[in-house]
């Protein structure tokens, strides 16, 4: 077991290194001098040279590369070219917004997708049930999240005026209250902040959640189909178990392994989904930060955001791989 964990970590490390290298070199081959981007076309040659020296861009590429890796490990991505604040500060401020969105979307996707997938698998011989559910999944798969977002905005924000059009709510306030302990002294303010966050969160979470629900329902449908055709299910049925007991006691538990795979995939899809969702709903977050940084040619900021995205996804997949061993003791590892 420990052997396996070590092996997986060792495989993940070159993966991370490779991904970070791609990000680094991608940012280096970009046209345009970051110093020109920062200081404008009017800057003097001396000023530009000075800036290049300050940013360490006059050093050999290999040195810059090692420096980038070393500083990334320490969560130091340099300063934003536009505002001048450390990139890590932006990331830690934006991260909670994105995390909340991913979690809320995950809840929506799980609540909608998993029951639909299981129901559809169990009733696969009944075309009146299976067919519409599969069509639903296809509709969801074909729906671009940004368009669904726009539709929700038009109906629920503009026409019905139920939800705000932009913004992410007072998440910073809520977090600050948790940190300072005001949660207990002023619970009413805290609840108001949470309500504000949820109010802003509802539409984005629905948009992202519904598009993800399609994928989730498909994956859980095939996972259920795989489990339900196993011998032990037949045995359970042969023993005279009630169908419900068969599904909940025997099938569902054994769905854990495929379910883990789903979670791993899910995080990757959801994280990239936030880029679009946050853009459409003008919500603060890592995804919107990335898009804005690219638009403003703020390369350190973009580099930081991409690095964080990649690290999260690789780490989640690593953890999922390890959890396989915990969930299913039969899985053997070389």
């Amino acid at each position: 077991m420990i052997n396996y964990v070590l092996r997986r970590v060792l495989v993940a490390v070159p993966m991370l290194l490779g991904a970070m290298s791609i990000v680094f070199f991608a940012m280096r081959v970009l046209p345009g001098d970051p110093c020109v981007a920062m200081m404008g076309d009017q800057a003097t040659t001396e000023a530009l040279a000075d800036c290049t020296k300050n940013l360490g861009l006059n050093r050999p590429l290999a040195v810059q590369y090692v420096d980038y890796l070393w500083r990334s490990v320490q969560f130091d991505f340099g300063n934003s070219l536009r505002q001048g604040y450390p990139v890590s500060e932006y990331i830690s401020r934006m991260f909670p917004h994105t995390l909340v969105l991913v979690l809320a979307a995950a809840v929506v996707a799980a609540l909608v997708g998993v029951p639909i997938g299981i129901f559809s698998a169990l009733n696969r011989r009944n075309p009146l049930i299976d067919y519409p559910l599969r069509i639903f999944a296809l509709l969801g798969l074909s729906m671009p999240v940004f368009w669904l977002g726009i539709l929700l905005l038009i109906v629920f924000s503009l026409r019905l005026d139920l939800f705000p059009l932009i913004g992410g709510g007072d998440l910073d306030g809520a977090i600050a209250m948790i940190r300072s302990g005001e949660v207990f002294t002023q619970p009413r303010d805290f609840l108001a902040a949470v309500a504000d966050v949820l109010h802003h969160l509802a539409l984005p979470a629905l948009a992202l959640g519904f598009t993800l629900a399609a994928t989730v329902s498909r994956l859980s449908r095939s996972a259920m189909l795989e489990v339900i055709s196993q011998d032990y299910i037949r045995t359970a049925r042969a023993k005279g178990h009630h169908e419900r007991a068969v599904v909940y006691k025997h099938a569902l538990r054994n769905m854990m392994v495929p379910l883990l795979t789903i979670i791993g995939l899910f995080v990757a899809i959801a994280l990239t989904g936030t880029v679009l969702t946050e853009t459409v709903f003008t919500r603060p977050g890592l995804g919107k930060m990335l898009v804005d940084a690219i638009g403003a040619r703020d390369y350190p900021l973009a580099q930081g955001a991409i690095t964080v995205f990649t690290v999260i996804i690789i780490t989640v997949n690593l953890v999922v791989d390890m959890l396989y061993a915990v969930v299913d003791p039969r899985i053997t590892y070389r």
């Binding site: 993966m15 490779g18 991904a19 791609i22 990000v23 991608a26 081959v29 970009l30 046209p31 599969r134 069509i135 296809l138 509709l139 798969l141 074909s142 729906m143 671009p144 940004f146 368009w147 726009i150 539709l151 905005l153 038009i154 503009l158 059009l165 990757a268 899809i269 994280l271 990239t272 880029v275 679009l276 853009t279 459409v280 990335l290 898009v291 690219i294 638009g295 973009a302 991409i306 995205f309 990649t310 996804i313 690789i314």
Partner: protein, 314 residues
Amino acid sequence: MAIQPIRGGSLSEAEVTTAPRVAWPAPAERSESPLVQGLRRLRRSGTALVGVVIVVLLVTVAIFADVLAPQSPIASDQAHTFARPSWDHPLGTDQLGRDMLSRVIHGTRISLLVGVSSVLLALFVGVPFGMIAGFYGGRVDTLIMRVMDLILAFPIYLLAIILMVMFTPTAGLIGTMKVTGAIAIVRIPIYARLVRGSVLSIKEKEYVEACRALGVRDPWILFRHVLPNCLAPIIVTTTLGIATSIIVEATLSFLGLGTQPPTPSWGWDLKANISFIQANAWLSLFPGLAIFVTVLGFNLFGDGLRDALDPRLK
């Protein structure tokens, strides 16, 4: 006297096809290939037919866009900006007074062009790599698949964004080629993995061994005997892949990293019109609807193909 090297198979490939002159019981009737059987099954699937109809319609619209569009998609009319839907402009006009219906019709072109060509490009690179990796195994396999794993470590949208930032989006044909290339790179591992998996099992089959025993050369085995036998999953993945590519193109354009103006593109139109959503909400409806219907068409078609060609995948 020079010693003649010992040769194994004396039959060259050309001879093999004509050589056997034994009395072989001729089949009474030429049996149908699995592909034909699959297509026969496809005809019976209702959803797949809906998909086929959508796809055929879209291709028609793309080809005859110049005839079908009532106006030029790029001619602006400053006197009629933000016109509401009317007989003159069935879907209204945008901020520059351009006819939305014409823009949506012309947008079909770029969407299908990028969608199909990026998948074909990915196919032509990914399939040979997958075949080589699966067939030869060993170090070549490890090298190819590690690179593929590295590409797969990025979610497709994120990598497509990174690539387009590197390529810097531009207008015109070159810009379109950049988008196509970026999406193709992202999609290569899908085909390499798929083909590698199929080849791994096919290369153990008796008929491949038979070819080897006859001294058939590797490329001939690969293209003549291995490739046709992993065609079904490739066809299915390609069709569904077009749907994905179209969504990725729309996404990139929506973020301003894909197709650039003046080329009409659904993603860009959504991006441009979302700023006016408060007063002119209808402008955001139709480009998105076009993306949705197109992707749905290819998904329905691909789903039906999968059921028809490979019942195991169901």
